[in-house]
């Protein structure tokens, strides 16, 4: 890896992710026939929030603040595991996909704890749903990744998504396609997008992620937003790399292609959000189990 | 000689039926005694020659089984002044039928066992089985404690009948030990019966069912 690669791998996750949120919002607005907020609106929001003061509930303790901090920092760390283009990732070791998943889980644990720290029944409700849905999403993600593990014979994300990816598509195309679908569903679930959650709703009873962070304000809320964007970035990167296994030489063009693909993915998510309604909460588990079954089916196709 | 022994054994079998058929306690005790006397006689008859040892044994048998033990039991009956009837769980007629059945079975079963060639009397083995089974019937179909002792005596008599085959083999000491044990057993049982009567004002074993499970 060149110094350029390292620099890109470090800087892109810090600065790029909010743009994805902007693209999604803009896509939704366009689809609804509105002009929508500027693409850079998430950056403005974050900057404003970072400058603002905070209000804290009397019920809360230090755990409440630990939530956003841990959430954002683990998401940042996790995003370093995913290769940015074909050059491989900044951090790579055998079994790093586990570390990727568990770092995100660490963030989730603290986010949930922070929500419970407020003593609010609404935030408790959100926390409960977050815990339930993400835990059901986990097997689906694993099955999808196992397809890759089996095909590549390797256990690190960098190698799995490395230059040999096109061959894997040749050998196990159907399995990989199923894995892509499963991963896309997981991406929507983990990032609280429609059809799992509606980030734009105003009814607390139906929210998941947003209701968890109701009490956060100022820089803490900014960290929450930044963390959410990072998580979308990390999953998105994984997905686009898997779905589009093309080689593009050079750091700049490679990274550039990857980022463009990411923006396309964000637009896709926005489209999905525009054409679909939020699922009934009781149906969510079935969809996630369905995703897991898709992934499992993908694995089974490799038998023999 | 064998004919005489056969007659005595037929007598033993007859006493079995009398025992099953009688409704009177004292009669049952006396029948057990009578069986004891017959056994003494059988012992004597079975060996023909008046060997001092056999004579002594026969006399002891008659004295203990025929006289002493019935006397102890009769005294017990008198002492506890209980009702003098036997209280059967199974009626007298069914008892007799069962007794007949048992005798028949004994005859059949005894045939399936090989006998010594110069058999003293072919009736010994079936008579022994039949008497043992009769004793068993009396033990299990009669209510009073004292009839159970009578049943036990009958059973023991049955064992004794078989002993006729083994007189040479069984040392004197054993014969006397057995008789002595029997006497002590009846004696101890008599004492216990006395206590039963005192505690429960009755000799019926129906009162003796508080220990269960």
């Amino acid at each position: 890896m060149s110094a350029m690669d390292v620099l890109a791998a470090l800087l892109v996750p810090v600065f790029f992710p909010p743009l994805l949120l902007g693209v999604i919002a803009r896509t939704k607005a366009l689809a609804a026939g509105r002009r929508g907020p500027p693409l850079l609106q998430p950056y403005f929001d974050l900057a404003r929030l970072f400058r603002k003061g905070m209000v804290l509930s009397r019920t809360t303790s230090w755990v409440f603040l630990a939530g956003p901090v841990v959430g954002a920092s683990t998401a940042l760390l996790a995003s370093l595991f995913v290769p940015l283009g074909a050059q491989g990732s900044l951090v790579s070791f055998p079994g790093d996909l586990i570390a990727f998943a568990y770092l995100l889980a660490l963030g989730r644990f603290f986010t949930i704890a922070a929500a419970l720290d407020t003593g609010s029944s609404f935030e408790g409700m959100g926390a409960s749903r977050e815990a339930a849905f993400s835990c059901l999403a986990e097997p689906a993600a694993f099955f999808a990744l196992l397809v890759l593990v089996k095909l590549s014979g390797s256990t690190s994300l960098g190698a799995m998504l490395g230059p040999d990816l096109p061959q894997h598509w040749l050998h196990g195309g159907p399995s990989l396609a199923l894995a892509v679908v499963a991963l896309f569903i997981v991406l929507l679930a983990e990032n609280s997008r429609i059809p799992f959650d509606d980030p734009a709703t105003h009814l607390e009873l139906t929210m998941i992620h947003e209701v968890m962070v109701l009490d956060h304000s100022g820089p803490a809320l900014a960290l929450v937003g930044f963390g959410a964007a990072l998580k979308l970035f990390a999953y998105g990167l994984l997905l686009v790399r898997l779905a589009t296994p093309f080689e593009v030489g050079g750091t700049v063009s490679g990274v550039g292609v990857a980022l463009l693909e990411l923006l396309a993915l964000a637009a896709l998510v926005g489209l999905v959000e525009s054409v679909m309604a939020r699922l009934h909460l009781l149906r969510v588990p079935s969809l996630l189990v369905g995703a897991a079954l898709l992934g499992a089916f993908g694995v089974m196709l490799l038998v023999g | 000689m064998n004919e005489t022994l056969g007659l005595v054994l037929v007598g033993v079998l007859l006493v079995n039926f009398l025992m099953l058929g009688t409704s009177r306690l004292n009669a049952a005790i006396r029948f057990a005694g009578l069986q004891g006397v017959l056994l003494g006689a059988a012992l004597f008859v079975a060996h023909g020659q008046t060997n001092a040892r056999v004579l002594l044994l026969a006399l002891a048998t008659v004295a203990l089984k025929g006289i002493a033990i019935p006397a102890i039991l009769l005294r017990a009956v008198r002492n506890v002044s209980i009702r003098r009837e036997i209280e059967p769980i199974v009626g007298f007629t069914p008892s007799l039928v069962l007794g007949a059945l048992a005798t028949g079975l004994s005859l059949v079963f005894a045939r399936s066992l090989p006998l010594q060639s110069e058999q003293v009397a072919p009736l010994i083995v079936p008579a022994s089985f039949a008497t043992v089974l009769t004793g068993f019937l009396v033990l299990t179909t009669r209510r009073k404690a004292i009839t159970q002792v009578v049943g036990y005596l009958t059973l023991e008599n049955g064992v004794f009948v078989f002993g006729l085959l083994l007189v040479e083999a069984i040392p004197f000491l054993v014969e006397f030990g057995v008789l002595l044990d029997l006497l002590v057993a009846v004696f101890v049982m008599g004492i216990i019966m006395n206590h039963i009567q005192r505690e429960f004002s009755s000799l019926s074993t129906e009162h003796l069912t508080s220990l269960r499970e």
Binding site: - | S128, H195, L208
Partner: protein
């Protein structure tokens, strides 16, 4: 020497009967026991002398059993003075004398070499233990004694018939007949099979009644439940072992006649059946002394199984006889203490014994663990030997049944024993003044120590005795 082993307790019995003082008399029991121990020590060191009379002689099995009986009796006798002092309201003349007679007869059983006299001795133990069971003189103990005497005597009568059959088995083939064990063993191959089989069945049922194998065990819970703990210990530890010895004599003849398989099938059947019946009756048994009786039935089953499996199982059975007897001593004596402290022997009334009589209750629990085959107590070693013998014989079904029945017994016994020991003490304990005392606890602790010792280290002399005795119970090659 066997002669003196029988005669010494009888002499002490006469002495006890003649002693006028109620307080001095109980101390004759430990004295007699010590004398007996001395005689055993002499016997084991080889100062036996010529057997006199010839039919009273200690062979390997007899030597093992006589030594064991002396040890068991010593510890039980050590418990007796303390116990009888507590029961000062009862005259103990008959009790002490009869107990010594009983002990003498047990010694006679294990040393006598003549089947007829064996029978006489067994019946004598029945008769002499009757008064011991009747010690409490209440309606329940009368009932128990009556059943004990009647069932025992009827069973024994069958055993006599069986003995005659075996003796006749020689005659029926035209051989000269004798009831001496040695003669029968010599003539064994020539015995008439039907008579031998029939005789063995009758002897097994007859002596099995005394031993307490199911379904002839029915007298056992009654007698053990109503007798004083001391008597229970001697019956469960001593008498049953002696009855087992009697069965072993017949087994020896069968084995010598090449009919070991026949005898083993019967023993296997009775053994498993006894364990099953005992297990079923131990479940939810609220009377803890009856519970011990059923445990005794269970362990008689295990003894039968050990012999039935043979090989290492024979060794295990002989060892288990000792282990079980000593553990039963612990259990019965400590149960007696608990009984006295609460004035009841049923679980709802008796609870929290650990807080009322801590030492006795601890010993009771330890005894429970010992007797259920918990290592490192002795019974584990013997049960393990028996199980290993099953495995060696590839009798996996029997082994599985054995293990399942052990679980059943453990559950049944454990629920009652632990209910007695744990929990809040019931109000009944305040009604009696009895609490732990040295004289009541130390002998039990001694027994327990022996049980523990046998689990970790079997002394060389004992091992020698076991190794001599076991081959006597194997079929002739």
């Amino acid at each position: 020497m066997a002669f003196w082993l029988v005669l010494t307790p009888l002499a002490f019995a006469a002495l006890a009967f003649a002693t006028p003082s109620e307080r001095v008399r109980p101390w004759l029991l430990p004295v007699a026991a010590l004398a007996q121990l001395g005689l055993i020590a002499l016997e084991l060191s080889g100062v036996g002398g010529a057997p006199f009379p010839t039919w009273l002689r200690l062979d390997a099995i007899g030597r093992l059993l006589a030594s064991y009986l002396a040890v068991l009796f010593t510890l039980c006798a050590a418990y007796a003075p303390g116990y009888l002092a507590q029961r000062a309201e009862r005259p103990n003349r008959i009790f002490c004398a009869v107990m010594l007679v009983f002990f003498a007869m047990m010694n006679a059983i294990v040393s006598v070499q003549h089947l007829g006299l064996l029978w006489v001795a067994v019946e004598a133990t029945t008769l002499s233990s009757g008064p011991l069971i009747y010690f409490n003189r209440n309606p329940r103990s009368i009932e128990a004694t009556w059943k004990y005497l009647l069932i025992g005597s009827v069973g024994i009568a069958l055993a006599l018939l069986g003995t005659f059959f075996v003796a006749y088995a020689a005659l029926a083939r035209g051989a000269a007949t004798s009831m001496l064990l040695a003669d029968l063993l010599n003539d064994a191959p020539r015995l008439s099979r039907p008579w031998l089989h029939f005789g063995f069945v009758l002897a097994l049922v007859g002596y099995g009644t005394k031993m307490g194998l199911a379904p002839m065990h029915t007298w056992k819970p009654d007698a053990y439940g109503e007798a004083p703990g001391l008597v229970g210990a001697l019956l469960a530890g001593g008498l049953t072992s002696c009855a087992f010895t009697a069965i072993l004599r017949f087994f020896q003849i069968c084995a010598a006649a090449g009919e070991a398989e026949f005898a083993r099938a019967l023993l296997l059947f009775l053994g498993l059946f006894s364990m099953a019946v005992a297990g079923a009756f131990m479940v939810r048994q609220s009377d803890y002394k009856r519970l011990l009786a059923y445990s005794s039935v269970e362990h008689m089953g295990i003894l039968a199984l050990g012999i039935a499996v043979g090989g290492l199982g024979t060794f295990g059975a002989l060892l288990h006889l000792i282990n079980n007897g000593l553990s039963k001593g612990v259990l019965f004596l400590s149960a007696g203490n608990i009984h006295r402290a609460f004035g009841s022997k049923r679980t709802p009334d008796v609870q929290g014994a650990l807080r009322v009589v801590p030492a006795s209750a601890s010993l009771f629990v330890a005894g429970f663990f010992a007797v259920t085959g918990t290592p490192p107590f002795g019974p584990f070693v013997s049960e393990f030997s028996i199980l290993s013998a099953m495995m060696r014989g590839e009798r996996y079904g029997v082994a599985a049944a054995f293990l399942a029945l052990l679980v059943l017994a453990f559950v049944g016994m454990g629920s009652t024993v632990l209910a007695v020991v744990l929990g809040e003490p019931s109000a009944r304990s305040e009604a009696t003044p009895y609490r732990d005392a040295w004289l009541h606890v130390a002998p039990i602790a001694g027994l327990l120590a022996l049980v523990l010792l046998l689990g970790v280290w079997i002394p060389e002399p004992l091992l020698g005795l076991l190794k001599q005795a076991a081959p006597a119970l194997e079929p002739a090659p």
